[in-house]
């Protein structure tokens, strides 16, 4: 057993300290104050590109090797720790960062060679900030992704997409959006197809940047697909892929690897709240109060357990072992632990928190989303119960 962080990852985590303190935190607070996402032309994004961020993990030369060994061997644990640390500085700003986005994993896993070439190559050595986006959630389908209604209708060599998508991160500024649709809602998951929809394709329209309680630094955008015509070549994986595989699997693969990641983000927010709360309590000279110490202890303990359980889920994924229960466990526990940290911070602040201009107050608003995205805490328990006691679907 080993609970150490390797020196290479440790250096990468520490490398974010200056960026986090000097840019991410202030940018997050500014976006929160202004109530709008960081604009795409903000110099911060170019800074990220110049520092080497915003790139894809896909490598054209990896293709041959991947063919023989399956999907590339991941280091989910390092990625997870980096996500936690970025969220520690500011989760909203972290999500706003340029890059191929949430769909990257599905494109690498399912995409044709041509699709990877077309959509990921621009992210190999980007000269300017570029975004990719992912659109699954709809007004009537959140955690229950099998219930999506956006229709994909074949029209000769093309596809026509009709429907509405909600809360898609960075999508109005994205070069492409990986849009999930169904060829037949009655087929459930088996009817799902993913399409690479490019910015500017006719029918991709009505972008609406939502107003949120927190996490305002990145855009959560709803949009409409009004008979949006997409070339057949943009069906993720091509026709062959769906001929012999269940369409839904691509989406579920993405979710399985991202639940621990979202859990880690929650831990990062919780840690930020805990650190700020301790700092405030110390300045007020109230850390000696056993009542306060007990509550700090509880919050720190729950966050510590959540981090370790997230790492466990990632470690299982890295070793290609089933991690459904563990991924959902981490996702179920971390957001509530982080919420408790932020809420305790508010209690320690007292009426200072009620002013609405303290970092902890922002974190308190930010953190609630973590129990909702990537499947709510309730859905995680449904998933766990399916595995543990065979809880029937539906």
């Amino acid at each position: 057993m080993d609970f150490a962080i390797d020196p290479h990852t440790a250096r990468r985590l520490a490398a974010f300290d200056d960026l986090g303190r000097e840019q991410m935190r202030p940018l997050g607070l500014e976006a929160d104050r202004l109530g709008r996402p960081i604009p795409p032309d903000h110099p911060y994004f170019q800074t990220l590109i110049d520092l080497g961020f915003g790139r894809t993990r896909w490598r054209p030369t990896q293709e041959a090797a991947d063919k023989t060994t399956g999907a590339p061997v991941g280091n989910s644990r390092a990625t997870l720790l980096l996500s936690e640390q970025l969220s520690y500085w500011d989760r909203g700003v972290a999500v706003s960062a340029p890059g191929p986005g949430l769909g990257e994993g599905a494109i690498i896993a399912m995409g044709t060679a041509d699709q990877k070439q077309r959509y990921l190559t621009p992210f190999l050595h980007p000269d300017k900030p570029r975004w990719g986006a992912f659109a699954m959630t709809e007004p009537g389908a959140g955690s229950d992704v099998a219930a999506i209604q956006t229709r994909a209708i074949r029209d000769g060599k093309n596809w026509i997409l009709i429907g509405n998508k909600s809360f898609s991160g960075n999508s109005s500024r994205a070069d492409f959006i990986l849009v999930w649709a169904t060829v037949d809602p009655s087929l459930g998951r088996a009817g799902h197809r993913a399409f690479l929809v490019e910015h500017g394709m006719p029918g991709l329209q009505d972008f609406h940047v939502e107003r949120k309680m927190g996490l305002k630094a990145y855009e959560s955008t709803s949009f409409r697909l009004e008979e949006c015509r997409v070339p057949g070549a943009n069906l993720l994986g091509g026709e062959d892929h769906y001929a012999h595989r269940a369409g839904f699997k691509g989406a579920m693969d993405t979710f399985n690897s991202t639940r621990p990641l979202v859990a880690a983000m929650a831990v990062g927010i919780g840690r930020a709240a805990l650190d700020e709360a301790i700092g405030f309590a110390r300045a007020q000279d109230i850390t000696g109060d056993p009542r306060i110490r007990d509550r700090l202890e509880r919050v720190a303990r729950k966050l510590r357990a959540a981090r370790l359980l997230s790492l466990k889920a990632a470690w299982l994924a890295d070793h290609r072992q089933p991690n459904i229960i563990e991924a959902s466990m981490a996702k179920a526990l971390a957001p509530t632990a982080a919420f408790e940290a932020a809420s305790l911070g508010m209690e320690l602040l007292g009426v200072v928190g009620a002013r609405g201009d303290h970092l902890i107050e922002k974190l308190f608003r930010d953190v609630k989303a973590m129990d909702i995205v990537e499947g709510t805490g309730q859905i995680q328990r449904v998933i766990m119960a399916r595995k543990l006691v065979g809880l029937p679907h539906g």
Binding site: F3, R293, W315, M329, L333, Q378, V389, G390, L391
Partner: protein, 368 residues
């Protein structure tokens, strides 16, 4: 980098102990409880596993295995019968003050003879140095006096008093009077009275005492993890069999969610124990981590065990089934090693007084 793979030899050990626990201990736990002792043939089978000296250094004929290995073994034993686990472990957590404060000389002098005797027991008791003499022994000069209302033993060959300042070894001048006991009765249950008991050794070393207490906490937390694993698993299986309102009760969402949360509580306790044990074996500071693991296991035990009984309904309350025993034992285990509030004090201080910006940083100030 973070890796939970157990070394091959530890997997083998785990399998052996699991087998012993399932076939021997688990089958006879009510018998041990009624007798307040573990039967001799079972002792012989346990001895054959070679666990008695597993933590002793090889120079003292031990196996030189670490805290992680011990935690694996204790979880397996606790899964069947934590009272029997205490009864069978001659040194038990009394090993830790001897090792951390007395070193190899003390282990050779006090621990080795117990391993050679039959059914010997060393006992460690917490001496509250904040409130000396209150429901715990009072050390005055070279002697100790006082009454401890309960210890998990019917007899003791060696007594170790551990407090925040150090530890004392006592070989005579004390007596154990049987009491009924609430949980862990398989280990025996007695009131301990010391009357001017002479100290055979007395070490002042707060840092060593803190490490000894931390290892005692991990010992207890590992037993608790095993116990609640069994409680959670037993009630999960039952919830699939028992039908109410037309379907297995496990398929009513109130219970499905509860079962998921119970499963999570066990995993959370285990991984906190594993991390603290790894820190101990790696030579890193581990007292805070061990206190955290103990608090979590104690609280989780008080979540999992009563809910496991609850899932069985009225049957859970009956002594035909082990659920009520799991609950008493979880409650009792969480009273050991100085209790939960003492651990909370330490873990809370570690958070409240940590270096600025290092509360739970992956790169902790103490390691940097």
């Amino acid at each position: 980098m973070f890796d939970l793979t157990l070394p091959e030899e530890l997997v083998l050990l785990q399998d052996q102990v699991r087998q012993f626990s399932a076939t021997v201990l688990g089958a006879r736990h009510r018998e041990f409880e009624a007798a307040g002792a573990v039967a001799d043939p079972v002792r012989a089978e346990y001895a054959a596993l070679g666990l008695a000296g597993m933590e002793l250094p090889e120079s003292l004929t031990g196996a030189g295995l670490g805290t992680q290995a011990k935690a694996v073994v204790l979880e397996e034993l606790g899964a069947a019968d934590p009272g029997a686990a205490l009864a069978l472990d001659a040194l038990g957590p009394a090993l830790y003050p001897l090792a951390e404060l007395g070193g190899e000389a003390a282990l050779a002098r006090y621990a080795l003879p117990l391993l050679e005797a039959t059914a010997a027991r060393a006992l460690v008791v917490w001496g509250d140095s904040e409130r000396p003499g209150r429901l715990c022994p009072l050390i005055q000069g070279s002697r100790a006096t006082g009454t401890l209302p309960w210890v998990p033993a019917a007899k003791a060959d060696l007594l170790v008093i551990l407090d925040t300042q150090g530890a004392a070894v006592i070989e005579s001048g004390f007596r154990l009077t049987p009491v009924k006991g609430s949980g862990l009765r398989a280990a025996g249950a007695a009131e301990l009275v010391l009357e001017n008991a002479p100290l055979s050794a007395h070490w002042e070393n707060p840092a060593g005492a803190a490490r000894a207490l931390a290892r005692w906490r991990l010992y207890t937390a590992a037993l608790l993890t095993g116990l609640m694993r069994t409680a959670a698993e037993t009630s999960r299986e039952y919830a699939l069999q028992r039908v109410a309102f037309g379907k297995p009760i496990a398929h009513h969402q109130a219970l499905a969610f509860l079962i998921a949360d119970m499963h999570s509580a066990v995993d959370a306790s285990r991984i906190l124990v594993q991390e603290a044990a790894w820190r101990a074996d790696t030579g890193l500071p581990f007292a805070d981590a061990a206190a955290t693991a103990f608090v979590e296991a104690a609280e989780a035990g008080m979540f999992v065990a009563p809910n496991a009984l609850q899932i069985f309904g009225g049957q859970g309350f009956m002594q035909d089934l082990p659920l009520e025993k799991y609950l008493r034992e979880a409650r009792t285990l969480a009273l050991m090693a100085g209790g939960i509030d003492l651990a909370r004090d330490l873990a809370g201080a570690a958070v409240a007084d940590c270096a600025a910006g290092f509360a739970l940083s992956p790169l902790r100030a103490e390691d940097a």
